[in-house]
Amino acid sequence: MAAVPMQRRDPAFRKRIVTVVACLLLLWPMLVYSEFKPWILFDAQSMRATGAFLADFLTPAHSLQFLTMVLEQTWITVAIATCGLALALLGAIPATLLVTERLSISLLGTHRMRLPARALRQFVRVVLILLRSVPELVWALLFVRIVGLGPTAGVIAIALTYCGMLGKVYAEILESSDAHASDTLLANGSSRMGALLYGALPESAAELVSYTVYRWECAIRGSAVMGFVGAGGLGQRMDESIKMMAGSEVATMLIMFVLLVAAADLVSKWLRRDLV
């Protein structure tokens, strides 16, 4: 009985080789464009600078004065996020009322919206898209030029971006809820506000609140980052310390930052569970 010779060759050999070659061909221009030069990391000068910077990390700055400053800046970061979100709500709620199709009377029964109503909805929708498509950091960069360094630019940046996000998502949440109650109210002659408050809101309130709290958490992360372009808070101090190569200060602020993000995460989880 002759032993069947065991096939050792990979049956997908050719396909694998072609894939690898194609990937390498794609990778080449990318490496060029991103100036991929890992050896920079290991050149003597860079190693020395990095080494000194990182060695400083091991002893986080902990003088009382510095810690008080860090806590104060952390509060400012939270305050920027909170103010920004509060202002965003001022814009997002009216925008939602305008955009959401749940409150359209002409849509009832006919399934066709009147032209002016459709035009207005489309217009507000485009405005919201523009507001949220410009990254918050770019808004902050622009407003730092207009209102100067400090938290005001950060608050406006968050307000504009989050107005766009909240307006869109609020409308989507309202439209995905069961239409029966609000449609019945509207068809029987209730006002739009009544249909919203007694028909649409009770069903989607929990989801709306939970999404808002989640966005608040995102805004805290965003406001910390926006400090790097001069919009105040923890980020701005961190930027200054990095520029002065004060590794110990950066270490303290990084720890504070990680704790802040974790705390916001926790509070947001807890709020969402409690409110829903």
Partner: protein, 265 residues
């Protein structure tokens, strides 16, 4: 006729959330109180005219061919940065995920998960400013920053899906004498590949958006151009860069939406 009595009783009010709502209102009031925002400076006539000058400076975006070409190159740089950063993060994330899924015991699992959490909670932009010290100005630092943050995100996701995977095939290979690495590569990895691929694409989409602004701290790409022209008050050029950013984000959104729809259909 007394209609009121026919109505169902008024539902009881939920008083449990009252302190929470009061707390939130207190937080908002305290925030506005401590920030003392400079609205007066914002709405005063002189500020308004300055704002108007600033905004009208954008009006005709710079559209000369050489500048458009430069913007296009910066866009490619941004895309390359995001793609390479994501690729590196996939490799590093997968390597860390093996330990993070408890394959080498409970202690390494806890340790790796802690590291992944820290990597994840430091945003790309903060990574970029720190890495500028080691990698110098330019897209390379931005790419590394994206790689670090995304490793934290993907490592965690990969570890979770590894832990939840059905290991039946791998156990069979192992009991039949396959070495550990081969058993993993030929059984569990192909099983998880589609899920990992979708996480990776999702993160890549995020990274493109992040890469666009990373340059603001000196990490190359479109953000670098924006910062450069804004600090020289060259508004038409800045406007072009912002438009390029918007176009890129919108195109990526559309592509991802189309791809998702094509894949799920």
């Amino acid at each position: 006729m007394n209609h009121i009595n026919d109505m169902p009783p008024i539902p009881p009010r939920n008083r449990a959330s009252l302190p929470l709502v009061l707390g939130m209102i207190a937080l908002v009031v305290a925030s506005f109180w401590t920030l003392n925002l400079e609205w007066s400076g914002f709405w005063s006539p002189s500020a308004l005219s300055a704002t108007q000058d600033f905004v009208s400076g954008f009006a005709p975006p710079e559209m000369s061919a050489p500048f458009l070409y430069k913007t296009f190159i910066a866009t490619l740089e941004t895309l390359a940065m995001s793609a390479l950063g994501t690729v590196l993060a996939v490799a590093a994330g997968l390597a860390l995920a093996l330990a993070g899924a408890g394959r080498f015991g409970a202690a390494p699992r806890a340790f790796v998960r802690l590291i992944l959490n820290v990597m994840r909670s430091v945003p790309e932009l903060v990574w970029a400013t720190i890495l500028l010290v080691a990698a110098g100005l330019g897209p390379f630092a931005g790419m590394l920053a994206l790689a670090f943050h995304t490793t934290g995100v993907l490592g965690r996701l990969f570890a979770d899906s590894l832990e939840n995977a059905n290991l039946h095939a791998e156990h069979t290979l192992r009991t039949n004498g396959a070495p550990a690495l081969a058993a993993f590569v030929y059984s569990t990895l192909p099983l998880l590949l589609p899920q990992m691929m979708s996480y990776t694409l999702y993160r890549w989409e995020n990274n493109i958006r992040a890469a666009a602004v990373l340059g603001v701290v000196g990490a190359g790409g479109l953000g670098g151009m924006l910062k450069f022209h804004l600090s020289l008050f060259q508004m038409p050029q800045a406007a072009t860069v912002i438009i390029a950013m918007l176009l890129m984000v919108v195109l990526v959104d559309a592509a991802s939406f189309g791809l998702r729809r094509a894949l799920t259909r």
